[in-house]
């Protein structure tokens, strides 16, 4: 599992989406999330799903790979959905299916649960596609560029981006280190797989202490190396990779604008999410 983290989520491929400007992709993801929350009925969400499928095809990432990333948050989605099922109260007595003390299950609760789960699912899918098609480095480049206006209020944008890219850069290194230390302690008979929660947590001490020591050592080395190359912050620094906005990004933004417009129209013409109840209950 640790190896999954090592490369971030990035799935290397040559595709329309991979080639897009990271800034455009970040903006698109935010707009995509807006579209998800704008949708008031299932038709709107269906439009969002269609859009998502189109993007996955354009990104040339296998569907299984995208779904695998969602698997990790599946528990959270299910948990939220179940809470909603039990504690969502219906206005109409007719729609109540089951009741026990203060817990009720109504048609509204079921619909609401499905709607919420679908929304969360789509939200994770959308952001996953961003991290699958964008390397962490270009992602931070994009964020730095998008945050540039904040420099006017003296927000340390460059420093923030630097911290982010260093943190990202160190994930694979520290993952490697962790794997090595785990192997070394296993060779000395350490057991990480059995026992209860407390025993397992204690078993991690022989891994965490050396890891922390090595992280500090590396941080010092990196600081020295940056000093040695006369690093002095953002002032006068140029970029190795210049971000360029191309026709792909324009097309992407147009498509998403189309999606939002479509969702709004569907909202106006097809009512709210609870209308479907009418199909089941008179």
């Amino acid at each position: 599992m640790l190896n999954d983290v090592a490369f971030g989520q990035y799935y290397p491929a040559k595709s329309f989406v991979h080639n897009m400007d990271p800034r455009a992709k970040i903006v698109l993801v935010i707009a995509f999330i807006v579209a998800i929350f704008l949708a008031k009925n299932f038709l709107g969400l269906a439009a969002v799903i269609l859009f998502l499928i189109l993007v996955v095809i354009l990104a040339r990432v296998p569907f299984g790979r995208v779904l695998r990333s969602v698997k990790m948050v599946l528990f959270l989605i299910i948990f939220t959905a179940i809470l909603n099922l039990f504690f969502y109260s219906s206005n109409s007595e007719l729609h109540i299916l089951w009741q026990w003390k203060f817990i009720t299950i109504s048609w509204e609760a079921i619909i609401n649960m499905l709607f919420l789960a679908l929304r969360l699912f789509l939200l994770v899918m959308g952001t996953t596609i961003l991290t699958l098609t964008t390397t962490p480095v270009s992602l931070t480049d994009g964020i730095e560029s998008l945050l540039t206006p904040l420099k006017w209020i003296r927000f340390p944008v460059h420093e923030l981006a630097l911290i982010m890219s260093i943190a990202l850069r160190f994930i694979p290194i520290l993952t490697d280190e962790t794997n090595r230390i785990i192997a070394a302690q296993k060779a000395r008979g350490a057991d990480f797989e059995t026992g209860g929660l407390i025993k397992r947590a204690k078993a991690m001490i022989p891994v965490l202490v050396p890891l922390l020591v090595s992280a500090f050592r590396r941080a010092e080395d990196l600081g020295d190396a940056m000093d040695a190359r006369c690093y002095s912050g953002a002032k006068g620094r140029t970029k190795y990779k210049k971000l360029t906005f191309t026709w792909r990004d324009l097309l992407g933004l147009l498509l998403l604008a189309g999606l939002i417009t479509g969702v709004v129209f569907l909202n106006i013409y097809f009512g709210g999410k609870f209308d479907v109840i009418g199909w089941f209950v008179a």
Partner: protein, 290 residues
């Protein structure tokens, strides 16, 4: 314990774009009693191979027997195996964690020999620390982090040999040590080899180290064993080693130069033997025209 690998295959990150084949059908036998050297450049699969030997990497293809342990068997007692096959990683000082040297060295014992009395543990720790050349009374209550680099490495090695493994594997044990440290380390390995430690396996880039110390060696390249035998046999094929991008010992370099000038030296490539053979050759050739 005899180590027999047949058709050992291993792939990192299988079924992903990052898949890389580290081992591709490794057949290798290491007999009990050998001082075995594993040679190969970075990424040749040597580290992956040695991590199979104590089941740190689980077998996925081929077969591997270490003594009576069959590593393909899911019921194999891996913990017991690990106590008999000690493994010293590259830069082992980075695995130190406990508050005192004594506790750190005892870590392996506490894991492998549950129920061992305090006195027995202390005695074993003392013996291990003395074996690696440290003064037990002086270092036992020190924090491992306040020791020097060389001392840290000794403590780390003591932490592995404290269980007296029959097979001791060391991955680049001399990396980062000064010449004196290297020499002392090799002396240490020879002093334990032949006692409770029957077999020593070292992974190394340093050909002189292999030529001087090992009884047998194998050369890894691209996940395969391309040469195997006594160092004298391997280094006699110096051209092939150079073609693989590997180095050869100084003695082999000298032998090559001498050969180019028409003098064939039949040596096993240890410094001692090389010097003797060259002297003998010199005397035979008259010796006076120098």
């Amino acid at each position: 314990m005899r180590i027999v690998a047949e058709g050992l295959t291993y792939t990192y990150n299988p079924k992903s774009p990052f898949a890389s084949k580290a081992l591709d059908g490794v057949d290798l036998t290491i007999e009990e009693g050998e001082f075995f050297g594993i040679i190969g450049h970075t990424g040749s699969g040597k580290s992956t191979f040695v991590q199979h030997l104590n089941a740190l990497i689980r077998l996925t293809g081929g077969s591997l027997h270490v003594g009576e342990y069959d590593l393909a068997d899911k019921k194999c007692k891996f913990l017991e195996l690990r106590s008999k096959v000690g493994m010293v990683f590259q830069y082992p000082e980075y695995q130190l964690f406990a508050e005192t040297v004594e506790k750190d060295v005892a870590f392996g014992l506490k894991n492998f020999r549950k129920g061992m009395s305090e006195e027995e543990t202390a005695a074993a720790v003392k013996e291990a620390l003395e074996t690696v050349g440290l003064d037990y009374a002086k270092v036992r209550n020190k924090s491992p982090f306040e020791l020097s680099g060389g001392q840290k490495r000794r403590v780390a090695i003591a932490g592995v040999i404290v269980t007296k493994p029959e097979v001791l594997i060391l991955d680049e044990p001399a990396a980062g040590l000064d010449p004196l440290g290297k020499r002392e380390l090799m002396e240490l390995l020879h002093s334990i080899h032949g006692g409770w430690c029957k077999t020593v396996v070292i992974v190394s880039h340093d050909m002189d180290e292999i030529a001087e110390n090992c009884t047998h060696a194998a050369v890894f390249s691209d996940g395969k064993v391309v040469m195997c035998g006594k160092p004298s046999e391997i280094f006699a094929r110096a051209d092939e080693l150079l073609a693989l991008g590997l180095d050869i010992p100084v003695t082999a370099k000298c032998a090559q130069v001498l050969k180019a000038r028409g003098y064939a030296v039949d040596t096993d490539f240890t410094c001692d033997d090389f010097a003797q053979k060259v002297l003998a050759l010199w005397e035979k050739e008259g010796g006076s025209n120098a």
